[in-house]
Symmetry: C2
Subunit: 181 residues, 2 copies
């Protein structure tokens, strides 16, 4: 009881301090998080709804964020022909550049040894999985660990969406990803 409280507080404090140090340029932490997500998401998962679900916020808020990012030239919008309601946002060159930078926590984490990093990632992923299960949230994992994924040289194939994937795409985030039994 005592220990969990501190772990939760540690996670929140680390995130707060990281956010505070992520204010540079004309971007705020949330906008930065949107760009980071976009850089790791596959072409089926770049809509406002998906970003909102991933970040645990609402479509309304993300809609505003995209309006601002669009104005500043970090993303470009692409409307779908199949479903005229849907919009997909892509990183522009300027947007992609931003996601390369890595200040804040990044440095502190890289000081850990490999064993610590692996254990940390495993445990945090475990916590996330449990949390998402309790809250009916989706995992947003990468394609090549998904139950619908079929390896196929050089890339892969998604049985759920009946789409073939390039090699690069197999390690991107998908909103439909599922690796549970």
């Amino acid at each position: 009881m005592e220990k969990q409280l501190h772990i939760r507080e540690l996670i929140n404090r680390l995130a707060r301090l990281d956010a505070a140090s992520a204010w540079g340029g004309d971007l705020n932490p949330t906008q930065r998080a949107v760009l980071a997500y976009l850089g790791r998401a596959n072409r089926f998962s770049k809509s406002p709804s998906h970003v909102a679900e991933y970040l645990g916020t609402t479509r309304g808020t993300i809609s505003q964020s995209f309006k601002s990012l669009l104005q500043k030239g970090y993303v470009s919008e692409r409307r779908s022909a199949l479903d005229k309601r849907a919009i997909s946002f892509e990183l522009t060159v300027k947007g992609r550049e931003i996601t390369q930078f890595s200040g804040g926590l990044e440095q502190s984490i890289s000081d850990l040894n490999e064993h610590q990093k692996l254990a940390l990632q495993t445990t945090l992923t475990e916590i996330l999985k449990v949390f998402l299960k309790q809250n009916n949230g989706r995992t947003f994992g990468v394609c090549n660990t998904c139950i619908h994924f079929e390896a196929d040289n050089p890339g892969g194939f998604c049985r759920l969406l009946s789409e073939s994937l390039t090699q690069d795409e197999t390690s991107l985030i998908c909103h439909e990803q599922n690796n549970a039994l």
Copy 2:
């Protein structure tokens, strides 16, 4: 390079999801964090400045937060007689009740086994320590792990502030805490 990125994202996503689930009542996540800090801080560490430094934000913002918390009756203010500039905020009964609740991540963390929890806390603390060192931040650890602490039955004594501490106080957060060599 690849792995750190995910750990940082994991920490941030967990904190975001936790925050999203912490919106209940008439409190927002930041206000909740202020109350949580107040519940664990000692009597020398309950000023706006200390809270701001702990949470990685500014005095201005925290001043607003306290204004709101004061209005809603979660905290009470106490001016110091020695330094007429200083203010200390105390949890009211209503404020203390709130800090008892534990939704969100709490449950997911408690599902881990003891070994995982210990390792997780150790590693996260390590990251925090490195981060704070790089950013000239203070640790905000508890008295009984401080270089100025002197055990003294039943409580303790702080050599820095020349104040004696009750037993309960020895495990509270102090803004002056220092356990580095």
